[in-house]
Amino acid sequence: MTTRLADPPFASPGSARLRPVGMTALALGLIALASGSAGAQTSDPNAAPPPAAAEPPATPTGDTAGLDAKIADVDQTARIAVRRVEILEEQLAAKAKESPAAAVTADEKGFGLKSGDGAYSIKIHALIQADTRWFLDDGGLADRADTFLIRRVRPSIDGTLFGLVDYKVVPDFAGSQTVLFDAYLDAHPFPWLRLRAGKFKTPLGLERLQSDSDLVFIERALTQWLTPTRDVGAALWGDIAGGIVSYNIGIYNGAVDGANPDVDINHAKDFVGRLLIQPFKADALSDFGSLGLHFAASTGNRGPGTPTAAAATATPQLPSFRSGGQSTIFSYLTSTTDPAGTVFAHLRQTRINPGLFYYFGPLGILGEYVQSRQEVQKGNVTATLKHQAAHATVSFVIGGKAGYEGATPTNRLDLAKGTLGALEIGVRWNYLKIDDASFGNAADPTAPIFADDKRSVRKATGFAGALTYVPSRTVRFAVNFEQTRFTAGSTVSGTTTVADRKIENALFGRAQVNF
């Protein structure tokens, strides 16, 4: 019990329940019972001592002396019995506190059921994002249609079993189709050693690892196209030294950049690792904010060797990339008629991904670089292409705190209390650079061509601003504007001369509910 003012001396916390009527009735009943049992107690050598009178006996005479002593004995026995009941009740109350009953919870983090000891739980959540995209001067491009859309509809279930294993299942129903995003078990015998198995985010992509509900911008930066969305596999991970060091090392089927596969189509597997250092988690440095230094890498083969051209055409195992406005801006060559005209993945893909975040009060900075090296093949020709992307995002929260887990208002919207929530302002620079070798070599007509720079861009650079109103952790309303400039990706009108794809000026809006 924690008190600011101490209890009155000798106050009994549990005594009020029994006194005065209940206790008197109980005492009278016990006196009646005890008067019959007192004699039995004295005949038992192992029994509790025959209670003697608490008060000095008066000096009665004759028969009253024996009677008074008898009453005093019975009174003591009754008091002892009542006190034992009181203590038992207090012990039961304390035990109930230590092992509370199962609880139903409903709060801004979801709805759930939890066993008294917390060993078993289930919680229901949902993320719903209703978006709109408007392209200012779409340049006649068909994939720049102004639209309202449901970006994410993700109900989810998570919880704990045996106090040892967490589980999570997240489907997505957006776009009128069902896609499984997460389905995994996470055994956590120790904070420093956990095993996760199933389908989940690989540890690649610092911004990718942020929850979809907590991003500064409506759409992630261009770096997202060089890391997989999800993959299926198993990972050992954990926190060391109170989270100052976190590691993650896993084996996965291997997913194409930006992809979300459910099964593997070859025998080869990807190995992915990550190290995250958060030095300011040390107690002595916690005043300096939250700094995270992230380094992740992956390597794996996309196939056991050169597949047949037909098979490769069916599943080329290569990504396409999109702009901030979600228009496709890069894709490898494919041909439905000529297998030798389709580019497909050939053996190894390696990614490296350094990054950092820093949050200090309302200020947030997050930046990263991704390099994806992929061996590709077209016909009998192979090459290793190195694509790169980076972004830097700075955010500032008015009326709240910035964090890797999203902006948190100091006080949620409550008109009665005059609190308004928080306003998050963000700016971002990001770019995507496609390896020049993808487009052949104008000086060398024999150089292989894996992508057509009349349709695919060589480079995209975007600048964006975000304004997000966060009335509470549950609800967000966001407006973003992003201008992306491209190198190549189009032709001069009426000719075959390569030209830059028209600048994309995209205006985004989002209403989000997340619990």
């Binding site: 019990m1 924690t2 008190t3 600011r4 003012l5 101490a6 209890d7 001396p9 000798f10 106050a11 009994s12 005594s15 192992n46 029994a47 509790a48 001592p49 025959p50 209670p51 003697a52 009178a53 608490a54 008060e55 000095p56 006996p57 009174d75 003591q76 008091r79 002892i80 009542v82 006190r83 034992r84 009181e86 203590i87 207090e90 012990q91 107690d283 002595a284 916690s286 005043d287 200090f360 009060g361 309302p362 200020l363 700075v394 500032f396 008015i398």
Partner: protein, 339 residues
Amino acid sequence: MKLARLAILTTSLSLLAVAGRGGTPAQAQVKLLNVSYDPTRELYQEVNKTFAEKWKQQTGQTVEISQSHGGSGKQARSVIDGLEADVVTLALAADIDAIVEKSKRVAPDWATRLPNHSTPYSSTIVFVVRKGNPRQIKDWEDLVKPGTVVVTANPKTSGGARWAYLAAWGAAQQKLGSPDKAKDFVAKLYKNVPVLDSGARGSTITFAQRGIGQVLLAWENEAQLLVKEMGKDKFDIVYPSISIQADPPVTLVDRNVDKHKTRAAAEAYLKFLYTDEGQEIGARHYYRPTTAAILARNQAKFPKLKLFSIDDLFGGWSTATKTHFADGALFDQIYKPGS
């Protein structure tokens, strides 16, 4: 040029961030939580009030001190389980050692950081009897007489009761001459205990408010407070010929004060207990001051009696705990609930 703009932007945002956090390096208010044992409520109420005034004068900082009270062992368990105490002021050194061992929240050298093994006051175990002492209870041997009902708490959960148990054992061993005879004596004594409360304050209630028993084994300060609060016409205090010197220790909870940034205030709070003013407050609440001059000034409150220490007879808390209070140890052997 671009870099210069970026630097200006970053600097401006950082300054805004500092401003947004309030920006002042020293906190204007500090909160401390003192997790203590049962009978110290009144003592720390006065200590907290006085210290807060002093601290405000010295530093300009407002300190708000919360108290938590319960059986010493249970309080230690709470701290081990995560109760974020800044300081613990417990009944037993063993309870602080348990925090060190099981949670590492307290530095292992805690006992040497403050004078007198980090014990600002001492106490002892005495008897409280009903007015006029109708059963003529004068010393330990009177407690084992047939028909005497003794009230004390459970030494498995209460620090005060643990001191009382060891006081009885030590007195018997000194008087009767052997540990075996002491064991028989203590077994007889606990046969005369019909109710075991979980804490010292609970056993005081059993005796004083519920009217159970003829003698209460109590901390000296608890006995004095009881007589003062309930009236001198109701109870007498009996000092046995020999008893134990009970040393309730205090310490910072290192990990918590570092987390809360309260080390300076918490250290000053504990050191205040050793000042003349702190010692006088202790004496007012019937804790024996460790400063000789303050003890001498208050000698009338503290009758002299022969005291032995836990180190003298039991080899320290670690040994005493294993021998007497661990599961299956001597107390479990001699006390069977309901017998």
